[in-house]
Homo-oligomer: 348 residues x 2
DNA sequence: ATCCTTTCTGTGAACGTTTTCAGAAAACGT
DNA sequence: ACGTTTTCTGAAAACGTTCACAGAAAGGAT
């Protein structure tokens, strides 16, 4: 490091400095046997002396491997994605891969990114794009490019890891029923996402099983964002025979709903119980703390990485789908129905 | 796309398919003039037909540019970093660069990452590492590698963009003084960070200017994490002559403090006013909503990118430091001091 | 001495691009 | 018909590595 500062130092500079051929330097770099200890030492010294750092592009051009795992996400705004990334990141840290994060704000550009990855930037790709995956599956499968869809329901289109959204919705309704609620409003998520559809189906299934009111007016459409939660809750509260509890398909909308409920002059949970979905960090922070369905997001990230590694090892492995269990986190936003005997849960 | 699926398709395959030399294919790829329209069309067809996608490693090996901007962060856990990244990301999206995110959990590995970047993976590097930057400056400056430290106070060590932490702390105290408070507790941030030191200095300066109590017991040490906020607040509340307001060096610690205050049976803001710093998303969500000092985190990310681009263009440009203004966001966690006439602010 | 291993080292090709250079083909003015 | 410019195209080198190969040096056995 004590020499003057060349902008770039290659294996050849090091070789010259150490008085050996560049192949020998490469050998030292890669810890190959059959290098005379004395030579190795001289090379190591030169390496350190010149402050050599390998050019990864050249290396991976030659070897065909980049030791990178790509991660394609829509955006980073939501804490939800952050949690998945934390898991991915933690798992990757235990391997000798690096993480390459790409965000795509415009849906239109996504396939282009995918193309880049397939083009050798990364050895495998994790896609956290809850929307329609069809535009990607073509190139990905055609090239046998290792990839895993995260937070996506499995199908024959590609390997995936997801959460049990259907079961989670049932858990939520079961819980509300156990508190005596019989008229439960539901605020849907975005219905172009599998998670949105699954949570709705879970709600419907549970409502049917318990023989609850299945008034279609009890289902208000949202899109997973807080404002629609607010609006949907307003609609539910305006109903002539309004529900006694509201189940929102995610926490953000539950927060919006809580706001609307308070604006209507009602108390939570005394006058209206609320359940969310996701267990975002804020859920524990709001007041009253939100009862919600936890998705094991971090674990989802970890599992996705593990799965991807198996595909990198063997790209021909058949598609696998892992579904992670969801569970109920009871906090303070629900109360037993007043004037109604607490009743046991009918099983669903 | 309708052919069978070769694992890899190069410029040469395309050339063969189109019946031209691979140099011509390259020309078409790069939109160079002097390609006969008819040839261009044939090549384009072949390109599309085979589903060609460029190998970026090869390209950047040849050109010496990667069109990537590296982003080095400690971890993604905190929403704070997420906001900066959003800004970075948004700004990069407007250029023809891509973002390459690296996280480093172990401080020890950071210089190694830096080496990778310098090694050609990216054309420039953004470092969001609030700790001591000395281990990085050496290699970075020696190689004239374009880089910017984000959320760091400028120095002669390298270019940086940061926020006015000192001024922000003064704003907070000014506000509390305007509400009549004269005995104000302070919970410090991590004092090995410049932001921690600057906020403390701002507090001290404001206390001196207003001639407030400067009892050393009013300063309790924290480390920016919620638990220390809780502990520090307990210490402040246990004081024989306890403060009437608490200013925490970040929101997370303010949340911890709020918890401690409530546990002590006091009401916020009636019995104790609280001010935070950062304006994290949760600040508006907690109850009562937290009055805090806003840092323009997203803007910080954007500015950092803009600065970095100038260094990529001209690596010799002298170090620049941009400081962004902070401002006060008044919510519901502060109240005028009871039994004290509301008094006008002395200027600081 | 001679021959075989074993250990060590250098030469040169290859990875997939871009880019320089030179030359062919077309277009144009005379 | 002929130069001259302009448009087009291909051959070959280069970027910084890894790796197969061949050959040199050293060490043992005969």
């Amino acid at each position: 490091m004590n020499h003057s500062a060349p902008t770039k130092v290659t294996i050849i500079d090091v070789a010259r400095e150490a008085g050996v051929s560049y192949a020998t330097v490469s050998r030292v770099l890669n810890d190959e046997p059959y290098v005379k200890p004395e030579t190795r030492e001289r090379v190591t010294a030169a390496l350190h002396d010149l402050g050599y750092v390998a050019n990864r592009q050249a290396r991976s051009l030659r070897t065909g491997r980049s030791q990178m795992i790509g991660l394609l996400v829509r955006d980073l705004g939501t804490g939800y994605i952050g949690q998945i990334i934390s898991g991915v990141d933690a798992e990757i840290a235990e391997t000798d891969f690096e993480m390459l994060l790409f965000t795509t704000h415009h849906q239109a550009r996504e396939p282009e990114y995918v193309a880049n990855f397939v083009g050798g930037m990364a050895d495998g790709l994790l896609l956290i794009l809850p929307h329609n995956i069809d535009p990607y599956t073509g190139l990905l499968n055609q090239r046998r490019y290792p990839h895993v869809f995260v937070d996506y329901k499995g199908s024959d289109k590609g390997p995936a890891v997801g959460a049990d959204n259907y079961g989670g919705a049932i858990l939520a309704i079961d819980y509300l029923v156990s508190l005596g609620h019989r008229r439960i409003g539901f605020i849907t998520g975005a219905l172009d996402l599998t998670s949105g559809v699954d949570r709705l189906n879970g709600y419907r299934q549970a409502v049917a099983c318990h023989g609850l009111d299945d008034d279609p007016a009890l289902v208000a459409e949202g899109d997973y964002h807080q404002p629609t939660g607010h609006a949907a809750a307003q609609a539910l509260l305006a109903l002539p025979n309004r529900p006694t509890a509201i189940f929102a398909a995610n926490d953000a909308m539950a927060f919006g709903a809580m706001e609307a409920i308070r604006e209507a002059g009602l108390r939570i949970p005394e006058d209206m119980s609320v359940v969310g979905f996701d267990d975002t960090p804020q859920a524990a922070g709001v007041s009253p703390a939100l009862t919600t369905i936890r998705q094991p997001l971090e674990d989802m990230g970890r599992q996705a990485v593990q799965m991807l590694l198996t595909y990198i090892e063997d790209p021909e492995r058949p598609f696998e789908y892992r579904e992670l269990a969801t569970d109920l986190v009871v906090r303070d936003s629900c109360a037993p129905l007043r004037n109604a005997p607490r009743q046991a849960t009918a099983n669903s």
